[in-house]
Symmetry: C2
């Protein structure tokens, strides 16, 4: 077998031509999304008021295992993809582990993360539908930046509701979005009814993804030629993100490598769902016995301490109800520097797989993942986003266990993005002043109390 | 001929194993560096007080055309190299030009620029020599970040004197260096004699590369086990940066592409010298007729309005004298957002080539290069460093001229780094408040008045 290089790149014609629809591989169909007003399963038509037509079709597509990527999207993908699979040789050496560590690095594009993979098709479909404007929310700022790049390229207007605490931590993110022509509004804001309501009930709140989603949805519903684009949680987002896993598998297959463990961080589930897609599809067909590990922040422990129940996707209770792991749409996570992981719910496919025992989940405190990140920085010359630090910390722990047991496990994880825009978090960690905040059982109960009645 | 992909990557075993020493290709030897005290040619021994032994050997090596890259350096290079040559298809479409635009993108590593290419060997050589600490200056912050990554990896101490105006514009750059274990001091500072002198003479100055160099050299001379590492200007830096050009040429050669024009921005000359190395070597041997264009800021017009003369490399007049294009070591350029280009001098090889008519030079105002950058951002999905904007603006102008003449020129330029840490500059440009500042002839004369007497 050929030596494994530091970075495995696919050539352009080895890039995936199809997305993989994990939903169609599930042994039984997901519980349906429910209309928040009627409590009955949503229709395509109902969803089209908020989302683009094609996103809706993809969201509800339970039959097509592979969906062709349109050529104009491939043309954009080729500007920044394929992304490399990196063999972390120097980290292995530093940890003195017999394990092999591989990471799929999604941070080499200007948005700095994997989010661009779904922003491009979503904006493309909006343009094809003749829309003129799109709205969205952003937590860490990665999704908003990705959308700004896509709307800048395809020529659509963009309004971004940015979680206030993130907007304050990351003024430069805002500047990038504005450079690409986007408008950025810290959320909760007084520009929407739901924003004004939240501000009244929680004055001084730093906001949350849930709040910001409600504001963006409200604008999409009320402004002509406008739809809402979501960067995580939904099934069509996972569909687009399957390029991560498809590229990773194609790259590793070249060297006959099948991972023993596949690890990703989880906020809404987009990178994790995309990373595991082809491996999980094989697993569901009995072709491998890979362990899949979702890593979340202890401050927002959806998969490890949440309930598997119907819930709203947003704080304002405007979205359809989804069956998923959730902390309750009323749960407001404590401030955490992995803004992209501060979400009360979880993608339904990931939730179902977790419920069926096919996905493991662990929760890490932020000081612990930053400690791991600093080791990673120095040995691999790469400074990751706080979200990514969760996955790499779990991967490093696995590698350290291998040192104890002597196992030569092959570990694959997703490094979703760079930390270039997260330096205030690193500055806080470097100063020794970063703290951890884990919700008490009582605080979780308060969140669960906001679950809708349908679960009773 | 095969279709040209969006990004041309070399495989790991196609990566250069040797650096190219452009100095050894020159038809006649460079004028010697002079000792600032005696006025006589420097000796290896004299330089060793400041620089590492190997850097000195390479600096004065006028005979070896190729110099082997040690394996431990290749091991680091492989973590972040090869960098891609990107065919800017979408920019071509946007400009509606028959020209072909290619850019070598050096911004995919965490330091965000090409500077890492020389930081790695310089720190490696310091460690091999048994040194414990290194010092340096940094302007835009790219060189300091690169050195922090290299010292973090090889385990050496690092003190960075950062041009004060840059340090204020870029607190996050500072945080990255500190995350890797470096110490950052805004310059001029009161920690050195030369810093205190400059502060006294120019209270409130934003500093310059020249000042910061003097401070770092002073520390290297006075602290045991410590040497000074320089990120540009010197010949051994250009040697290391030749990986840029060697990779670019190897990638383009695969598709039988020889550029008609090769363009780079110039501060001290490092990326430009590295980019042109193999093409200029061929040119000097009569094998091509490429036009080489150096692009500098109009606020610091070394090659376009400077003198070809002996001068100090630093404001404090501590370095050897080099024969180069210079504005005088006493010239303090106006504030400019391309911090990496605010240097009074220029690498001696580039200077000689310019003097011999083998390199063209143009100067651009900063508002103009930012205007070009915004077009580039939207069409190529890539947000470059202000320094890089100078090269891309010149490349775009060339492509626009091709539209007028119908020429299908092949244009290669270096996109040295990302603008992630330069968002204050973009914010200023977006606000419409960025201004230009071009030195008057009288201001230039004041700088020339500081040239040393040896030129008389």
């Amino acid at each position: 077998m050929a030596n494994i290089p530091y970075k495995i790149y696919l050539s352009e014609n080895e890039m995936p031509q199809f997305w993989m629809n994990l939903q169609a591989y599930l042994p039984k169909k997901l519980d349906p999304m429910l209309d928040p007003k009627t409590g009955r399963p949503v229709t395509e038509e109902g969803l089209r008021a908020v989302f683009t037509d094609e996103a809706v079709r993809q969201e509800l597509n339970t039959t097509d295992k592979l969906i062709e990527i349109p050529q104009p999207i491939l043309d954009f993908y080729r500007m920044y993809r394929p992304s490399p699979v990196v063999r972390a040789y120097n980290l292995e050496k530093m940890l003195d582990t017999p394990a092999e560590l591989y990471y799929k690095f999604e941070g080499t594009n200007t948005s700095g993360s994997h989010k661009l993979n779904s922003a491009v098709p979503q904006v493309y479909y909006a343009r094809e539908q003749g829309l003129t404007n799109v709205t969205t929310e952003t937590g860490a700022g990665q999704w908003g930046t990705a959308l700004a790049m896509a709307t800048g390229y395809y020529g659509l207007g963009l309004k971004v509701f940015m979680v206030k605490s993130s907007a304050e931590q990351k003024p430069h993110r805002k500047a990038v979005m504005e450079t690409y022509g986007g408008t950025v509004i810290p959320s909760p804001s007084d520009t929407t009814a739901v924003g004004r309501k939240i501000l009244q009930e929680h004055p001084g709140t730093g906001g949350s993804l849930g709040c910001a989603i409600s504001e963006a949805v409200e604008v999409a519903l009320n402004q002509e030629g406008t739809r809402y684009l979501l960067g995580s949680v939904l099934n069509h987002v996972l569909l687009h993100q399957s390029v991560i896993g498809l590229e990773a598998k194609a790259a590793l297959d070249k060297y006959n490598i099948t991972p023993d463990v596949v690890i990703g961080c989880t906020g809404g589930g987009s990178n994790f769902g995309g990373l595991i897609a082809p491996y999980m599809a094989d697993r569901l067909e009995g072709k491998n016995n890979i362990r899949f590990v979702a890593v979340e922040p202890a401050s927002c422990p959806t998969l490890t301490r949440g309930r598997f129940a119907y819930d709203y996707g947003d704080t304002g209770r405007m979205t359809p109800l989804m069956k998923m792991y959730t902390l309750g749409s009323g749960f407001i996570p404590s401030s955490n520097h992995a803004g992209g992981l501060r979400y009360h719910g979880m993608n339904p496919i990931i939730s179902q797989l977790r419920h069926d025992g096919l996905v493991d989940a662990v929760a890490y405190e932020q000081t612990r993942v930053f400690r791991a990140a600093k080791i990673f920085c120095k040995s691999e010359g790469n400074l990751p986003a706080p979200e990514s630090n969760h996955a790499l910390c779990a991967a490093m722990d696995e590698a350290i266990r291998c040192k104890e047991t002597g196992e030569k496990k092959k570990i694959l994880f997703c490094l979703t993005g760079t930390g270039f825009f997260d330096m205030p978090a690193y500055m806080l960690y470097n100063s020794g002043k970063m703290t951890d905040s884990i919700p008490t059982d009582e605080e979780l109960e308060q969140g669960f109390a906001t679950l809708p009645e349908i679960n009773l």
